[in-house]
């Protein structure tokens, strides 16, 4: 049986880079390259000279298939053993599905310096107005978890477990808006379409929830390039702009520096205290001190409602019946961790 070649085809979507190929040195890993047609397929075979435990699977082919429907068809026809980025609505159709809390955090960045969102009560209202559980069920078929009021998953360094989501409370949202004198204010929310899973739909849903508490939500969806112009525009910040932050390092620094910290490439606040905390945390070597700094940063941003925290999206994979594999949080698909049933 070990001599039998196990054919396994895996299918990453065309737009995702598979980072581990740049990392894995050819020749010292459990697999070696046979060939790589860019954008088409990659074939690996076991490396006879590998010093470690021999993996069960002898040969693997990665195929790049852009069209989600075709990926699903390939899985169902028995041509593929594993497909990535399975659309939530397809999960009922696959022989087996694997899902794990992923790296993607959809979030809305609120302008804390100008416009109707300048008032912290308005920003809090915008948080109370959104039913995040409904978003997880409705848009992701439950394959998403409600974000805990921070741009971090529970397993990330810096996660503050004493902070939870703003609960869904449209009444409170309306009263906060009234107190702030902002009932009926117009808030422009900017998003893009087709870059992240359900990116357009989330923005439209959030706008809908805001409408329900009396905000006039203006949705503007831009082509990705134009959207990026606005996200990174340091001169004029949008009232509200949507983004999906993905943090492969599982550490707060990168995303906090970009979005939480004043002057960061995508941030919409000028909170010097918050920026100070983040700067200090970046260079702090004592783990306990560093953790505490991030906890403070999370709490402060939460109290100031600089964002509408939404969800942590799960990575969903479709698998064939014979494949045994658990998905990883860092979204790597390591073939030597996979097993194929006889």
């Amino acid at each position: 049986m070990p001599s039998r070649l196990y054919w396994m085809k895996m299918v990453p979507p065309g737009y995702a880079e598979n980072p581990k190929f740049a990392e894995a040195p050819i020749g010292t890993g459990p697999y070696r390259f046979v060939h790589w047609n860019r954008g088409q397929d990659i074939v690996l075979e076991t490396n006879a000279g590998y010093w470690g435990k021999k993996p069960q699977i002898k040969k693997v082919t990665y195929r790049f298939v852009e069209e989600p429907g075709t990926r699903l068809a390939g899985l169902k026809a028995g041509e593929f053993d594993l497909i990535t980025n399975l659309l939530p609505e397809f999960t009922r159709q696959v022989p087996k599905a694997a899902h794990v809390l992923g790296l993607e955090h959809p979030i809305v960045i609120l302008n804390a310096d100008a416009g109707p969102t300048k008032d912290v009560m308005v920003r809090q209202a915008l948080n109370y107005a959104v039913d995040k559980e409904a978003l997880a069920e409705g848009l992701y078929e439950g394959f998403a978890q409600v974000a805990q009021g921070q741009l971090l998953s529970p397993s990330f360094f810096g996660f503050n477990k004493d902070v939870g989501p703003y609960p869904y409370n449209p009444k409170k949202a309306k009263s906060l808006l009234k107190q702030a004198g902002a009932a009926g204010a117009t808030v422009e929310i900017i998003g893009t379409s087709g870059r992240w899973l359900k990116d357009r739909e989330i923005v439209e849903a959030v706008a809908g929830y805001w409408d329900q508490v009396g905000i006039k939500a203006k949705v503007r969806i831009f082509e990705f390039n134009e959207y990026l112009n606005r996200l990174f525009d340091r001169k004029t910040r949008a009232d509200a702009i949507f983004v999906v932050s993905s943090n492969e390092l599982l550490d707060a620094d990168k995303s906090f520096s970009a979005y939480y910290k004043a002057g960061g490439i995508g941030s919409s606040n000028t909170d010097a205290e918050l920026a100070g905390l983040i700067d200090k945390a970046r260079t702090e070597t004592d783990v306990e001190k560093r953790t505490s700094l991030y906890h403070q940063a999370v709490k402060r941003a939460y109290d100031q409602a600089y964002f509408v925290w939404l969800l942590n999206i799960e990575d969903v994979y479709g698998m064939s019946k014979r494949l045994n594999w658990s998905a990883r949080v860092d979204a790597k698909m390591l073939v030597h961790e996979m097993r194929v049933a006889e």
Binding site: G39, V65, E66
Partner: protein, 306 residues
């Protein structure tokens, strides 16, 4: 013939140049590859450094002059995505698209002749009406949907054929059908209407009267005269397939031709590869047009040259 060919080639060169200028200008006006290629949370300094590395910080006229000089050598530079010469990628992928187009449109053309003729023989009859009916459906179906439908029925449910990719002769069947079906429908309609016109002509009746066999009158004499609009349409279908529909069909079937590559280049904002692709497709379109013109002169000698 020689002078005509030269004239056509010259027009072709002008068209290609115009297209290339357009692509150069447009992709620089609406896109910024630096923003898209670097990870979302890169700093401004990292972006500036990358831009300099790609030569995109130079003024546009300077970039363009360099560009024209390079194009003359077919040197579009290295693809930003694959880090190898863009034209090399084009040469790799174009044959696959041509293969798919040849099979798809070729079959469509061959099948359209008998189907169109049969419909034309009895206009208004049952065969004719059902031919028209199915043709209308055939070219109204969006190819994207048709491709996925074929995959679901023939590859997933019946498992007669593979779902995507290349490798065996069976891999080309579904993409070729998807490519060719709308073309077949349009061609059938054209053959039919062309033949109806011809079969009403005086010479046809004369032919029968003279005792020429039925199949010769229809298949040779009438067909020859009806051929011109049909051949025009075939040329159009080939061009539309290569320069347009290939993107959709190749994406659905993960068929690694120039259409799929164009799609991937767009997603990755690979300006360099995009320009190479558009330029090459432009050349192919011009060549196909010239080829069609030469075919006309064979079919209808009266058209031989001014």
């Amino acid at each position: 013939m020689g002078r005509y060919l030269l004239k056509r080639l010259w027009h072709g060169v002008i068209v290609i140049f115009g297209v290339t200028v357009l692509v150069f200008v447009v992709t620089r006006l609406i896109g910024d590859p630096v923003k898209v290629m670097l990870p979302m949370e890169s700093t401004l300094e990292q972006r500036a450094a990358f831009e300099k590395q790609l030569g995109l910080d130079r003024p546009i006229p300077v970039q363009f002059i360099d560009f024209v000089g390079d194009v003359a050598h077919l040197d579009f530079g290295d693809s930003l995505w694959q880090h190898r010469p863009a034209m090399e990628i084009v040469f790799e992928k174009v044959p696959l698209t041509l293969k798919l187009t040849a099979v798809g449109i070729g079959l469509a053309f061959l099948l359209s002749i008998p189907l169109g003729i049969i419909a034309a023989l009895r206009p208004g009859g049952i065969t004719d009406r059902s031919t028209v009916f199915f043709s209308l459906i055939g070219f109204s179906i969006p190819q994207f949907w048709l491709g996925l439908l074929l995959i679901v029925i023939l590859a997933v449910k019946l498992q007669w054929l593979p779902t995507s990719g290349t490798g065996t002769p069976t891999h080309i069947i579904l993409p070729a059908i998807t490519m060719g079906l709308p073309a077949l429908a349009r061609l059938v309609m054209m053959v039919r209407s062309s033949m109806i016109d011809e079969l009403n002509q005086q010479y046809v009746k004369t032919g029968y009267a003279k005792g020429i066999p039925f199949w010769r009158v229809v298949g040779v004499h009438a067909m020859r005269n009806a051929a011109l609009p049909v051949v025009t349409l075939v040329g159009w279908e080939v061009i539309r397939a290569v320069a347009g529909y290939s993107v959709v069909v190749e994406t659905v079937f993960a068929w690694p031709g120039i259409g799929l590559t164009a799609m991937q280049a767009i997603e990755r904002e690979d300006l360099i590869l995009l320009q190479a692709i558009v330029f090459s497709v432009g050349i192919m379109v011009v060549l196909i047009n010239i080829l069609m013109d030469m075919v006309y002169t064979v079919i209808d000698p009266r058209l031989k040259l001014k």
